[in-house]
Subunit: 370 residues, 2 copies
DNA sequence: GGCACAATCTATACCGGTTTAGGACGCCGC
DNA sequence: GCGGCGTCCTAAACCGGTATAGATTGTGCC
């Protein structure tokens, strides 16, 4: 909306052959020669306040004056100062995302990068920024939220990786910070939830495997402390019962690749191993394929494998992974719009994204005769 | 340094059974009941200015008064307002990272999440935040840097994924924004570079393969437009020549998994395929293993494969990937400290991280007889 | 003509810090 | 007794916007 032209550097240009004269405190070009609202006011022959009104499309300015002000602002190359705006309006024009995970584990899970990309598509056009924190554990996590609030660093936050009785919900509610939860919490929550049905995908996986002829199907579940881990696990058990196959064997993990590999090893080394394994996420499923191959168990002939997420690798491992397609970018977009609505209007409805569906590739097939 | 206690909410607690009364404009607890420097001044019986001096450890305050002020500030639970500080001091207390990549591709590359985690370990204790932007292409990228500067959103930026004749260098120099480049640019640059020698790892890979008895070794290179793609490619060719094996076959890609898979397919379908392939990154190498298996080419018996990065998956695919171990977290830490030094002192020296070394696992072995 | 009222605009306080110009005071030397 | 100087402190300007009270003008209506 505002002209985005950068003021021309009126200082001597930086000596590009050395970095010793880089004085950060004085060289901030566009800061030192900043055009302020007062300059615009003077030039347009009106008061500061009126300029502010005109620039914010607020009533009480005649059409004629408004256009003149806008024109002058454009001519002078005026850009609003985010800092000044932050101070007087008590907003920060930024949203926050705090991720509490071991960075090593985090790296293998492309969920967040895609999610962030989705968020970004909404924020960037609005001139909002994303403040990201990656912290190692959940205690640091709460402290980080507190700091974000007391610094007034963000206007709202995304709450991901919901856990059972998640302390963040009451804590954020008390802090009074607008938030959006990724998924529906298991407790009363004052915040809108943006969720996706991931149980249907698990049920589809089980039905698919049953239809192929599998009866001994196991589930490598995610963390029992995480809601989506539990949800998928419950969906698995329910689907197994529906198929008349009992509860099915379930191994709990923490969603990490290492744990997925361990779980697979344990399952396949049993005297009567499963003929199919439903993994709670793709990284574990891919590790599972690796372990099977290492043990000389053929995939999918000896053991069928399904994953969850449809990460890019899923299409490129061999055999290509049959998995449930999540859409983290869409999720990011939805979460961002919801959070913005909440911040701006004080209210936002829950959003339910289309259920994640099964994508059939090569890692699940008719079980070989034994 | 300052007491971090959150002011107690003096409003009625939020009704946690409904989200309809969530009024973002009035409920910002710690904002509405903020203790300001004026409160501290009044309570301590001194002027605002003196409080500021005392809190910033500046001379001109008697020891006695200083301690009294600090004590009062602590008692009142005072927290400096980042917004006010930003406005008057013209700093933002945040650093920026702009990543220009297709989010799908980005997700498979755990480099950034680890890098960010490393950056975070430096920033968090200093009370600084990281502003992250993920943009789809490099034209949006420049615009994003411009916005970050003109908004005064950050005090400095990280420049990653250096390209040939990278426009970002002169552009950022002109904007006067402190920056640190990840790797050394191929042009004069006013910014400190934090780099790692990735050529030694490639040379080691080639030497390792040659020692195993390979002679037809190919390289699936990264993007020719990216400096690290070129560097690894040149290192490969040089190492091949050193071994008296000519230049070696090289296929250029864009570092993406899909391109890596394609390249492998092309290489292996030749009448005289290579017996070993050196990949410029792990995701492509893993896709390479998948393609080989799909084509019925055994790894490592028929074709040996090496990667670069040592992403977590590398240990869990089968056969486990022989690769070069990068250390993105260390890199993040070094880059953050360097950028902070630059911002604070106006100068920072280049940093050279310890060279990435080869990690031998199962994907490279003595070639089978043909 | 006079009054109510809306539309337009100005002046100014305000957000919460930092920074600067100076004032009060004590101590020194001459 | 007085100028000079250092220490400790206050008052006020300032950063660049937003918000509000009130001045000015024009119009409609009786």
């Amino acid at each position: 909306m505002w002209p985005n032209r950068i003021a021309i550097n009126e200082e001597a240009p930086m000596d590009s052959s050395s970095n010793s004269n880089m004085d950060a405190s004085t060289d901030q070009v566009s800061e030192s020669s900043r055009v302020t609202i007062a300059d615009v006011a003077r030039e347009a022959g009106v008061s500061k306040g009126l300029v502010s009104f005109a620039l914010n499309d607020r009533p009480g300015v005649s059409a004629e004056t408004r256009t003149r002000i806008l024109q002058v602002a454009g001519a002078l190359g005026w850009t609003p100062s985010l800092r000044a705006r932050s101070l007087s309006s008590k907003r920060s024009f930024a949203l926050g995302l705090v991720i509490a995970r071991d960075p090593e584990v985090l790296g293998s899970d492309p969920f967040f990068t895609s999610f962030i990309a989705g968020v970004e598509t909404i924020l960037a056009p609005e001139g909002l920024a994303l403040v990201l924190s990656v912290v190692p554990d959940s205690s640091t996590e709460l402290a980080t939220y507190r700091t974000l609030v007391s610094d007034g660093r963000v206007d709202g936050v995304f709450v991901s990786d919901l856990r059972q009785d998640d302390v963040r919900i009451p804590c954020l509610a008390e802090l009074g910070l607008p938030a959006v939860t990724l998924g529906r919490p298991d407790q009363p929550s004052p915040f809108p939830a943006v969720s996706i049905d991931d149980t249907e995908g698990i049920r589809e996986s089980v039905r698919h495997l049953v239809a192929l002829g599998h009866r001994r199907i196991a589930h490598v579940a995610g963390s029992a402390a995480m809601l989506h881990g539990n949800r998928r696990r419950d969906a698995f058990t329910a689907a197994m019962r529906d198929a008349g196959l009992g509860d099915g064997q379930v191994v709990d993990t923490d969603f990490s690749i290492a744990a997925g590999a361990d779980a697979t090893r344990r399952l396949l080394r049993q005297s009567e191993p499963p003929t199919a394994i439903v993994f709670a996420n793709d990284p574990m499923a891919i590790a599972g394929i690796g372990v099977a191959q290492e043990l000389g168990v053929r995939v999918p002939d000896d053991v069928s494998i399904t994953g969850f997420d449809d990460i890019e690798f899923a299409r490129y491992v061999y055999p290509a992974l049959t998995t449930v397609g999540a859409t983290p970018m869409v999720w990011g977009r939805a979460a961002a719009t919801t959070l913005l609505t909440l911040i701006r209007t004080g209210h936002a409805d829950d959003v339910e994204l289309p259920a994640a569906r099964l994508i059939i590739r090569g890692s699940a097939a008719i079980p070989a005769e034994r």
